[in-house]
Amino acid sequence: MDERKQLKRSGDGALLGGVCAGIGVRLDIDPALIRVAAIIATFVTGGLGMIIYSLLWLMLPVTPKTRKSEDDFKETSRNAWLIGAGFGVVTLGLLFIFREVGLWWSDALVWPVVLAAAGAGLLWRQFSGPSDSAGNDSGGDGVPGEPPAWATTSETIQPREGSGSTLPPGRRQSRPGRGFGPYRGAFGLALVIGAGVLFLYINGVFDRAGNAALLALTVIVVLALVLAPLWVRLGRNLGRERAERIRSQERAEVAAHLHDSVLQTLALMQKKSDDPRQVSTLARRQERELRDWLSGKTGTEAETSLASALEAAAAEVEDRHGVPIDAVTVGDRPLDERGAALVAASREAMTNAVRYAGDAGTIRLYGEITDGETKVFVRDRGQGFDLESVPEDRRGVRDSILGRMKLNGGFAEVRSTEGEGTEIELTMETK
């Protein structure tokens, strides 16, 4: 697919709408020639060129900007004059159109408006350029190595093949406009003010000093034209500062968190390095906290879902007894009264497993939450035991697990094989 085959507005190298640049890409001609031709055509046809330009601008699809915005800045210095001239010419063309269609009040307006447009164009290009050129305005070049604040999306940096930019990306070291920045700004300012004065002069305000309203209006328009670009740049600077502040705040937050949690735990682990079990417990707790933090859980809010309540119970038992418990859950539902009872029974089952099989490796909790019922399995790799042989006075399993489940409409089953471990299965129907 050759992108050049189709006529498009070009995002690269566009001065106004990118129409001329697009035509240049399509015909493989320097866009500058197209622009000159378009300007001449506009004058010759009495504004018709502007109509065609506007139509093309509206109808043509746009190729996105692919060149580094930084490069555009480097072109800025040279282009600013062209922009100024372009604004003037476009305005002139528009005035021609208005005149043709009869929407006209006075020929006296033409030159002030055209001059003001050219000056505004210059000022706009000057001040909406790189914002860091405020102090050492060197022609809008800014700091070469620093990308502009708004060129943060990576897509804009990817040079695309066949986009037909007439200028090689990235390598525009010549800076013809260097040092002319202030003059350009002053020239733009002079143009706008001059246009205002000319307008007032033509309208005879200076002769009949009484027309204060027209004077005030002119001053306001001039001020607006001059100040708007400055205002835009100020806004952009503020935005960048705010982004910077947010970034540094986030950095401070991460640092504080790491200090409070990870570094403390590491120090603690060094102190306890002769007790592998405690080290392992500390490490697992820290890991869990860090994961919660990374996934955005605050850890302080009460658990509201059954799955997270089961996982929290496993973490709690692990913390209290220093035995690793791996929890896996499938599905989820809101935590209700029955769910809470199930979590309590699960906690008891895990505590039981820790007590009798804590030395035999990881204890596993598996919770499966489906529409009809919830099942929880707690499995250890201990010695196993015979439930019948557990004396009557050892109430742990009977009361807190079997009894609690029965009381809440569920049931529990204990499977134990000598030498292979024990599994407690808890089933609770959900209503």
């Binding site: 994961r291 690793p324 791996d326 896996v328 859950t329 499938v330 599905g331 490796g361 990881t362 596993r364 598996y366 499966e368 489906t370 399995f377 499995r379 292979e420 599994e423």
Partner: protein, 213 residues
């Protein structure tokens, strides 16, 4: 019987050393690599039976290694090993061709067992991975393209549930009254579905991972 030849790919030297010392009693460690590029060169040079693969590496991660070597080295199997429990990581690496996924907290003997299993072409599911698969295949897919690939059979679900509960293959076989070979066949079948199914949950997880890369 010759020992299984294993390569360890992880960007943390300390972790590689730890795994190596744990493995040396059971398998032969034939090489280590710390980047994707090194890993690809290592696979081409020493042709290991099994590559232990870290999911996250600075220059692309385990997926990239699999993508670039699986076709030219069909006999090499990949076992993903990661600290991450995030479903999108697990699903993405398995879908790109890993024969299994275990977390870094796995014990030495369990890891050796998993490597042996993978080297024989079987699938290895950690309890966590079994949980993810059950989760992903539970519920109704609104748009099942291939019903065989998009559903687990009741037997496969049973096997996965037991894996999630911490049962070993031989314990599962005994409990269900089937042979270990049959358990392995179910696991492999689930792995195939995990890799080929177009279920939304799986596609979405894999896509999310691709976006991050």
């Amino acid at each position: 019987m010759s020992q299984t030849r294993v390569a360890i790919v992880d960007d943390h030297a300390i972790f590689r050393a730890g795994v190596r010392s744990e493995l040396e009693s059971g398998v032969e460690v034939v090489g280590e690599a710390s980047t994707v590029r090194e890993a690809i060169a290592l696979v081409q040079k020493v042709r290991p039976d099994v590559v232990l693969l870290d999911v996250h590496m600075p220059d692309g991660g385990g997926q990239e290694v699999i993508r670039q070597t699986l076709e030219s080295h069909p006999d090499t199997r990949f076992l993903a090993l990661s600290v991450s429990d995030a479903p999108e990581d697990v699903v993405a690496i398995v879908r790109s061709g890993a024969r299994g996924y275990v977390t870094k907290t796995i014990s030495g003997p369990e890891l050796i067992d998993a490597i042996e299993r993978v080297s024989q072409g079987d699938a290895v599911f950690s309890p966590q991975l079994a949980g993810f698969v059950l989760d992903a295949f539970s519920g109704k897919d609104e748009d099942p393209v291939d019903s065989e690939l998009d559903q687990l059979t009741p037997r496969e679900q049973e096997v996965l549930r037991l894996i999630a509960r911490g049962y070993l293959y031989k314990e599962i076989a005994r409990r269900l009254g089937i042979s270990i070979k049959t358990v392995e066949a179910h696991a492999s079948s689930v792995l195939r579905k995990l890799q080929l199914s177009t279920r939304h949950e799986l596609s979405r997880w894999a896509a999310e991972r691709d976006l991050i890369d």
